[in-house]
Subunit: 193 residues, 2 copies
DNA sequence: AAAAACTTCGAATGAACCGGTCGATAATTC
DNA sequence: GAATTATCGACCGGTTCATTCGAAGTTTTT
């Protein structure tokens, strides 16, 4: 029982790559096993089921995302840049994750209520981050905001709105353009005159 | 029997998109049908089998590639640029096609000997194009080549060598860098002193 | 306007596939 | 050398998938 966690990690990493490419349904245990140079049955020594692997992968990816986001906003000083970075990193990551979502909304989404849990948690965290950025901007006299709570919610809602085309129609491009437009609107309505 | 060809075309286009994303095996007739807003059985009115669709798609893509290549070399005058463009377009397209190849080399490649036929044909064509570029460069006194036949073959061999990592290891990156390096070597050995 | 030909599709089918199990067997630890 | 940890091949039963078929709808021909 020396390396159990290390092995789980390896499975998560490899499976993650395949899931992100083909989605949950189209990824087979045989493929994961082959990529790991393992017998298929051996994987079951470390994980209960395909779904458990998927769960672990999503959890793992969610953590990556969280880290990317926090380092992103730390990497710049100006509130405008913080907001801009946050939004872009968030959407880029989401694009990467959209395959997983596609995978889930194939059918049997019944089993995957854990996704809802993660989602709720991250929604709350996102809200906190947004409020922080807004608050920071307010303090630095760059933003003028009445109610940071509701402003944060408004921004979050917009971002969620952008997710939709991202995983309904695959190749809806120019997310960047649209993001920039939204940010422009946001800032021009928010910046001190 | 008014629109048979048009319908076949539509199937080829749609199926092509899905094949290129998921490969032959992971693409189902249901998906193709759904994307076409057609009953699955209806597709069989236009095509004999999934394999026939695949064959048509590959043929179609091969033609696109041929066109891209010829317009690419026409778009510039200097032999050096012709060669450079040709090589880059060729590799970029091949990258796009690598999914199909992956699809085939899953298993039962037995059935797909038509791929070999296409391949051979395009190898010949490629050789002709390369020779043309070389010849043109020679005439313009930019290249100095002893035997354009064998030089063309040498270049083709190199390009084929680059294909290998392209569909064995998915994310072998920096093809561009490697291409540039190869081109540098090629030119410095080929350019008149 | 009936017959013939063309087109679409739901339902059925049989074969392949796939997630998961089980027991045998290495490999490692005690 | 027994106990445990770890790997795997072979198998199972349910599901999926490509393909078929016939019936029904539509257009063209006579």
């Amino acid at each position: 029982m020396i390396n159990r966690e290390e092995y789980r990690r390896r499975v998560i990493l490899t499976a993650g790559q395949i899931f992100s490419r083909y989605g949950f349904r189209k990824t087979t245990m045989d493929e994961i096993a082959k990529a790991l140079k393992m017998g298929k049955s051996s994987i079951y020594y470390y994980f209960e089921s395909k779904e458990e692997i998927f769960e672990a992968v999503v959890l793992y990816e969610a953590n990556i995302l969280r880290n990317e986001l926090t380092t992103a906003i730390k990497s710049v000083e100006s509130p405008i840049e913080k907001m801009r970075k946050y939004v872009f990193v968030r959407m880029r990551s989401f694009e990467k994750l959209s395959n997983y979502y596609n995978a889930i909304f194939d059918k049997n989404l019944d089993h995957f209520d854990f996704i809802e849990t993660i989602r709720e948690k991250y929604d709350r965290e996102e809200l906190a981050i947004l409020r922080l950025i807004l608050y920071h901007g307010s303090r630095m006299n760059v933003f003028s905001i009445d109610n940071s709570e509701y402003t944060a919610l408004a921004i979050q809602t917009t971002l969620k709105g952008l997710e939709v085309p991202l995983f309904w129609k695959k190749r809806e491009l120019n997310i960047d353009k649209r993001l920039n437009a939204i940010l422009d609107v946001l800032f021009k309505g928010i910046l001190k005159k």
